[in-house]
Point group: C2
Chain length 219, copies 2
């Protein structure tokens, strides 16, 4: 029998850990679209297996064992993403969903072969870091949400959130991709939307859009 669920729970815990490595059960339920009761059930199981630290009514935290496991899942997911994007030519907004299914299949050997073929990429197509075979997570450049830039500041896109395909389709339509320079021309006070310049063209971005794009500030 497959371990799809367990794998999903562990990577979701990993991806949603706060600075202290803690996650709330509810958040996992929401992300995985299951009931809270299902989460409790699974947390008990994962605790029994030594993958997480967990006391009823307290938060959850990965043990080092659980963290290794989760990092490998995230690694698998992100290598698939790069592969699908670069080799198969799948657009930005399609790779996440496909990779989510594929991450549970394919041997580690295949993943390693693909990684080599891709020349050991450090970041996936959305700018998220890819843990190495040894579990080392590449450092990301210091970055802030585009929504934090002041008028006339420039930034280079380092990462975008990947949880909404339409968001990705929209921003690529207006020319936003990794490494692209964006200049904030104006911050509109009444709705906090911003007017930006990309490739010489001006666009208005809603605050929500701007909150999901992360840039390295350029001097």
């Amino acid at each position: 029998m497959k371990n799809i669920s367990k794998e999903d729970y562990l990577s979701e815990i990993y991806k949603n850990s706060d600075e202290n490595g803690q996650v709330k059960a509810n958040l996992i339920a929401e992300k995985l679209q299951v009931s809270n009761a299902a989460v409790t059930d699974m947390l008990k199981k994962l605790k029994r297996e030594g993958q997480i630290k967990y006391e009823p009514y307290r938060g959850v935290e990965l043990t080092s064992k659980g963290k290794e496991y989760a990092k490998n899942m995230v690694r698998r997911h992100r290598i698939w993403e790069v592969f699908l994007h670069q080799i198969v030519g799948l657009p930005w907004d399609k790779v996440h969903d496909e990779a989510h299914h594929l991450e549970h299949s394919g041997s580690d050997e295949l993943i390693n072969k693909m990684e080599e073929m891709l020349n050991f990429p450090q970041f996936d197509p959305h700018g998220d870091p890819i843990p190495s075979k040894l579990g080392i997570v590449p450092e990301q450049k210091h970055n802030v949400a585009l929504s934090n830039l002041k008028q006339n500041q420039k930034g280079v896109v380092i990462r975008v959130n990947d949880f909404d395909n339409n968001f990705l389709i929209y921003i690529s339509q207006i020319g936003i991709k990794l490494k692209k320079e964006i200049k904030v021309c104006e911050v509109l006070n009444f709705d906090k939307s911003i007017l930006v310049e990309i490739d010489g063209k001006k666009n208005n971005l809603s605050r929500t859009i701007a909150e999901n794009i992360f840039v390295e500030i350029k001097k």
Copy 2:
């Protein structure tokens, strides 16, 4: 919840149907490495869903609905095999197992994209036909097991059975691959093994090996 099992049962039924489209329950159990009871259980479920014709103690047969479903699974599997072999560079003996896991993941859209990228291959790396998007199965050239050739007959390899990795490793070591010409030099009477010539080199093949290699007879 995933449908991995159901998918496996249906493709296994498809792949093991005899000339009349019939399969024995036992054979499915053996191929899938599950108990006979598990097969009975699943057959009831598949019948309920209208995927198979099935009466207790009688054989199994796919309905046209089940056949469409199964052919699509086989298609997915074989396109993955070609992709892994040609694009990722996986050897002959590795593609089947990887593809077996991957065939359950990845959208039909992805499969179609890979198929296009591969220029619509008609056969997988072992020579098995790939059903088209519309369900059309390419015709194979008339072929017979190598074990059926008489002394001094020549054949071109059209297909090999793919259920044993060591078999595949062995035959590729001695230079056997699709389209390779093999000449039968001698059939040894005492153990029915055969002496063949491949690329000018002579090799002895056991009867079992020869039974799993299929050739088009050359005049």
